[in-house]
């Protein structure tokens, strides 16, 4: 009998948990945005965060962009060559890089690198009562800790994504033209004729939202950590896992919405 109810019960729990989780995320996100407009902005903290979020992620994101562009172009060219569609390789690879691969893979890397370390840092501050100490000193933790991280990540994401897209496109060219013998002039010409600025724009808009998602998830996991060392570990992995999953799922909906809205 109990086995019979196990699956529905687990599903129900999961659904409730998901709703609660989304509720917490929305509340934190809204409070953060409210804080941005109503409270003092901490510029020096923000610059520190730009450094640790943006500058220190450059390498990771550039490598991701380079090799994604390279492998995707190579794979496309292998197949398109057989179909004698060599001229479409550059277009497909560049569009994929701009609209999907660039933003999504950069976001996954950032969720793993930055989201998890943000959550770990905040969770440690929570369990060692540093967040209580801020409040006791009449400093609002959202203003002092969350807003700088949120802004830094939201602004860094499109910049990093733009660079990933650029690297991917260049890598695609290097693979297709010198390596696989596609005609260089036509390669660029086809891209120029078929890839519009709005294709890049779609990728960058997605990146902004992914930045918001990763920052909010990481901050929520960090701030809600309970006492104890294992909860810091849990917050860290949860931030990376949930951040990545929400990025992947929401990407599907962004694609639908943005394609309808912008074409």
């Amino acid at each position: 009998m109990r086995a019979l109810f196990f699956i529905p019960t687990a599903l129900g729990r999961g659904a409730l948990g998901l709703v609660r989780e989304l509720g917490e995320l929305t509340m934190l996100g809204m409070e953060t945005v409210r804080c941005i407009f109503t409270r003092r902005l901490r510029w020096s903290l923000m610059i520190q965060q730009f450094y640790s979020v943006g500058v220190r992620s450059l390498m990771v994101v550039l490598v991701t962009g380079l090799f994604t562009g390279a492998v995707f172009t190579a794979q496309t060219q292998f197949h398109f060559h057989r179909l004698q569609m060599d001229s479409a390789t550059g277009i497909v690879a560049t569009l994929a890089m701009c609209r999907e691969l660039g933003p999504v893979l950069s976001a996954l890397m950032i969720a793993g690198r930055v989201g998890s370390s943000m959550a770990a840092e905040l969770a440690t501050m929570k369990t060692t009562e540093q967040i209580d100490a801020l409040r006791a000193l009449a400093v609002y933790p959202i203003e002092y800790l969350i807003v700088p991280r949120f802004i830094a990540l939201t602004v860094s994401m499109p910049l990093l994504t733009g660079m990933a897209i650029g690297c991917g496109t260049i890598a695609g060219y290097l693979v297709a033209v010198p390596l696989m013998g596609v005609d260089g002039t036509y390669y660029w010409q086809h891209i120029a004729d078929n890839v519009a600025p709005q294709d890049i724009f779609v990728g960058l808009i997605k990146a902004v939202f992914f930045g918001v998602i990763i920052a909010t998830v990481a901050c929520e996991k960090g701030l809600l950590a309970e006492a104890g060392a294992e909860s810091v570990g849990r917050a860290t992995t949860d931030a990376a896992v949930y951040g990545s999953i929400i990025v992947l799922i929401s990407n599907f909906f962004f694609t639908l919405v943005l394609n309808t809205a912008l074409g």
């Binding site: 440690t124 501050m125 060692t128 009562e129 540093q130 209580d132 100490a133 409040r135 006791a136 000193l137 009449a138 400093v139 609002y140």
Partner: protein
Amino acid sequence: MDDDIAIRYAGVQKRLGRQQVLRGVDLEIRRGECLVVIGRSGGGKSVLLKHLIGLMKPDSGRIEVDGQDVVPLSEVELVPIRKKIGIVFQGGALFDSLTVEANLAFPLREERGTPAAEITDRVREALDAVGMLGHEKKMPGELSGGMRKRVAFARAIIRKPEVVLYDEPTTGLDPIMADSIDQLIVKMRERYGVTSIVVTHDMHSAYTIAHRIAMLHEGRIYTVDTPDHMRQSADPIIHKFVNGISADVTDL
């Protein structure tokens, strides 16, 4: 309205998880008084202190600071209350990312309007008071537990608050350092008229600094009395605690 009462807990109850930590705490602290709170560890002493500055909200009951109930106040409304109350957290709660110096300057910088030169002076003065001069540039991670406690102490008093809450300020310190912290607590009170609540397990320290000692037992204030009366108490619960006799041993 009794003008002499700085802080009043009335019927404060708090449940955390499955545990009813506070079961109706009634306690009054007079202005300028040093009240020591004793009780078993895990008994809710830290929770009791956190309620006073709104870090936790009770399930029911009133908590008054200078006659004002702090329970319904929002984070923004709590700011003036928090500015007049300093707290030394049990684990120090120093900011990991800031040097000792920056930790001490933090409360002053946050007030804004304090000139940089004055901040430097007051940081030095506070470090000197806790015997930590020369460690300005260290990060909290490089300090021993006792040193961290002393820096936390200095940070709590640097704004010259009217009320200071000390959560086990001498636990983990060597006897000499513990004694000098006790002297500081006394000095804060004598020189600046600070109202203090000190949570401690250290009965020696309690007898040295306390005007009155309150015992928190099973979620309530079991007794509040002078150090002498506590020491001579015939009540078995108090007697066991102040003399450090564990129940298991006496049962034999």
